[in-house]
């Protein structure tokens, strides 16, 4: 089974890159020539990825969430899968390359650095942690997608404002739809992150009795949560919308990424698994 897992590990970034190329080609040409085949190719890639995750879980007897590079492959899958569902539900096919590129990045980094973790720290063998990681990953995938749609919103906004009616103007859905996609993804992300934080706060004192509330991970997560909370509430109350709202959502995403990088690669935190 191990050689097969290794083969899939090499194959996955290639599949994501090919999917990305097909989506980008169709985006560039704008004739939707490969509208159905690109979706099929993404589906096949997702199936291969799912098999890889299941095989890893079976072979190493733990879900692939025990180090940052295992988590990266799950994030790559979650982002591509969420986009696939979104494409099926909305039939908006022009935004694919901007989202799949994230799966390409996460999967490539994962495939290069992933190790076969036979030994799992005792602290990570916990059901609560499983729920925490699961909800957090969905949350991060959702806010990534939210940020991408937000970014596309800003690009289209700028093209329309400055009379530069280029590819983005031609291929993207309208501004209201992009704002809605960004907002709803953010709502899902916020809800999932809230659950992840609650579970984390319950589990944390049990796992690390000496943890500190000024830990970078806790500060970063609190900032992200507050930012999304404020943005969503403002939109619901009708105070902020359009460009301002989208800027907040993108800001939340950037802080989330920064927080993850600082926690895992730079500072020492209870959340450092690398």
């Amino acid at each position: 089974m191990k050689p097969f897992i290794d083969t899939l590990n090499v194959l996955l970034p290639i599949l994501y890159i090919i999917t990305f190329i097909i989506y980008s080609y169709d985006f560039g040409r704008g004739n939707n020539k490969y509208a159905n085949s690109k979706r099929l190719f993404l589906f096949i890639t997702l199936l291969v990825h799912l098999s890889y995750l299941l095989l890893r879980t079976m072979k190493f007897e733990h879900p692939p969430i025990t180090n940052v590079f295992e988590i990266f492959t799950v994030i790559a899958f979650a982002i591509a899968f969420s986009y696939f569902i979104l494409e099926l539900l909305t039939d908006i096919r022009g935004t694919g390359p901007f989202i799949i590129i994230f799966s390409v990045l996460f999967q490539t980094i994962s495939s290069i650095f992933i190790t076969d973790e036979f030994f799992v720290k005792e602290v990570l063998k916990n059901n609560l942690l499983g729920f925490h990681v699961f909800t957090a990953l969905i949350g991060y995938s959702a806010i990534t997608i939210s940020a991408v749609y937000g970014f596309l919103y800003l690009m289209l906004y700028k093209e329309i404002k400055t009379n530069r009616f280029g590819l983005i103007y031609e291929r993207m859905p309208n501004l209201e739809v992009l704002e809605q996609l960004s907002f709803y993804s953010a709502v899902i992300g916020f809800a999932m992150l809230t659950i992840a934080i609650i579970i984390g706060l319950i589990w944390l004192p049990q796992a690390f009795p000496k943890f500190s509330f000024i830990d970078p991970k806790i500060i970063g997560t609190a900032l992200v949560w507050i930012l999304y909370g404020v943005g969503i509430l403002s939109k619901v109350l009708g105070k902020w919308q359009g460009k301002k709202l989208v800027a907040i959502l993108i800001g939340g995403f950037l802080i989330a990424i920064l927080s993850t990088m600082v926690t895992n690669f730079i500072s020492q935190s209870f959340h450092s698994f690398y």
Partner: protein, 430 residues
């Protein structure tokens, strides 16, 4: 293929002459009937604001383009028109010209799909007046097929190429559902009316009109079944509208940046679109600097139009390819109307039916009778086909390649279902 075309259009004649030669529907009908009597064996007349063209298969083989041109000019005497203002096409070139018109690549505004409907309606008039026969009906079918293919398989008609359409296209790139939006049209003149109609056609949620002369606003509102607000009051209610289209003839600004800024504040930053399609402009262009405000004037909309026209031009080679394919299809169908291959196909068709039926039923006969069955059925087929075959051969010898022979052959093929080159059959096969 004895199809003749005489055309006067924007390539050959100035607008004054095109206007003078334009025929309305009643005139087209009257002229078609007259032509049917004097010139047409089959034929139709196409007349739009940019072209007047006659397509026909003349009764007399000696009829020339000049005769058709004189026939047309007799209808509008006293015009200063010379031969240079006309284009002549014959045979395959005439068919190709028709295909280039119906696909929109011959239009002044490339890809204008209005011409597709106009050509179809000309076909319809000819059909109603029984001026179209077997050949022309097939030409109609092929031309319509080419036109549809150009629209569906290429981007020749994509994108807005008029100011009012470009404005609507831009609005739809900002708002997702016009049904939930409110719009104010300032100015009830011709431009304002067109813009208001476009918005109504796109299903705008609420449409309001304001005009300096209230009476004119009321008239337009009645036609479009929408509301009005007094011109003196509209600034106070500006915040209620998501889309504002201004098309007045005022020499001064009607809406200042401050007016828009106040409105945006009342709207709590909700997006507002300002379409200033007036010359000189009605809305302060500085308004575009405000967040959540999309301000567009005629120059901005012209950028969209130029961009779309450029894209349409780049689609012309694809349309030309379609025309080439359809022309080959049509020519191949026309060639298939020769007598000799038709006789062969007809015989094969009957023989196939005979052989199939004999095969199915021969077990009902004794072995000795089965041979007789073959002989008798073959004899029946020969007798049935003897007369049509002789007649076709005779027609072909006497009137080689004439429209009459082609028509006879065509009808025969249609009746027995052996018309493999007919576009409609091909469509079914696909």
């Amino acid at each position: 293929m004895n199809i003749l075309t005489v055309a006067i259009n924007h390539h050959t004649a100035p607008v004054e002459i095109r206007e003078a030669l334009h025929l309305n529907e009643d005139e087209v009908r009257a002229l078609t009937l007259k032509a049917k009597e004097k010139i047409f064996k089959e034929g139709f007349i196409l007349s739009t604001c940019n072209r007047t063209e006659i397509y026909c298969i003349p009764k007399n083989l000696n009829t020339l383009h000049k005769d058709i041109q004189d026939f047309l000019l007799n209808e509008k005497p006293g015009l200063n028109v010379s031969g240079e203002h006309f284009q002549y096409f014959s045979s395959t070139d005439a068919v190709k010209h028709l295909f280039s018109i119906i696909t929109g690549i011959n239009s002044q505004l490339i890809g204008d799909n209005q011409i597709f409907k106009q050509v179809k309606s000309s076909f319809q008039i000819a059909d109603d007046l029984q001026s179209s026969g077997f050949l022309l009906r097939h030409l109609f079918a092929s031309a319509t097929h080419a036109g549809k293919r150009a629209i569906t398989e290429t981007g020749i008609s994509e994108g807005a190429v008029t100011i009012s359409f470009a404005a609507v296209q831009l609005i739809e790139k900002i708002f997702s559902s016009l049904g939930k939006k409110t719009a104010l049209v300032i100015g009830a003149g011709e431009t304002g009316e067109i813009a208001a109609k476009h918005l109504r056609d796109r299903g705008i949620g609420k449409l309001t009109i304001t005009n300096r002369t209230q009476e004119r606003a009321d008239q337009l509102a009645e036609t479009l079944m929408c509301s009005t607000i007094p011109f003196s009051d509209f600034k106070k209610q500006l915040h209620q509208f998501d889309i504002i289209i201004s098309a007045t003839s005022s020499n001064d600004l009607i809406l200042t940046k401050d007016d828009i800024s106040t409105s945006i504040k009342t709207r709590k930053g909700s997006t507002i679109i300002l379409m200033d399609i007036a010359v000189p402009r009605d809305i302060d262009p500085e308004s575009k600097e405000l967040d959540h405000v999309f301000y567009k004037d005629i120059d901005s909309l012209n950028i969209i139009i130029e961009h779309n026209l450029k894209k349409r031009h780049s689609e012309i080679p694809k349309v030309e390819k379609i025309i080439k394919e359809e022309l080959e299809e049509f020519s191949s169908w026309y060639s298939s109307l020769d007598a000799a291959p038709t006789i062969r196909t007809l015989r094969e068709h009957f023989e196939n039916i005979r052989a199939e039926e004999v095969k199915k039923n021969k077990n009902k006969f004794t072995e000795s009778d089965q041979d007789k069955l073959e002989i008798i059925t073959k004899r029946i087929i020969n007798k049935l086909l003897h007369h049509p075959t002789t007649e076709l051969k005779k027609a072909a010898e006497q009137e080689n390649d004439s429209a009459i022979t082609k028509t006879k052959v065509g009808i025969l093929k249609e009746m027995f279902g052996i018309d493999q080159h007919h576009p409609e059959n091909n469509e079914k096969e696909k």
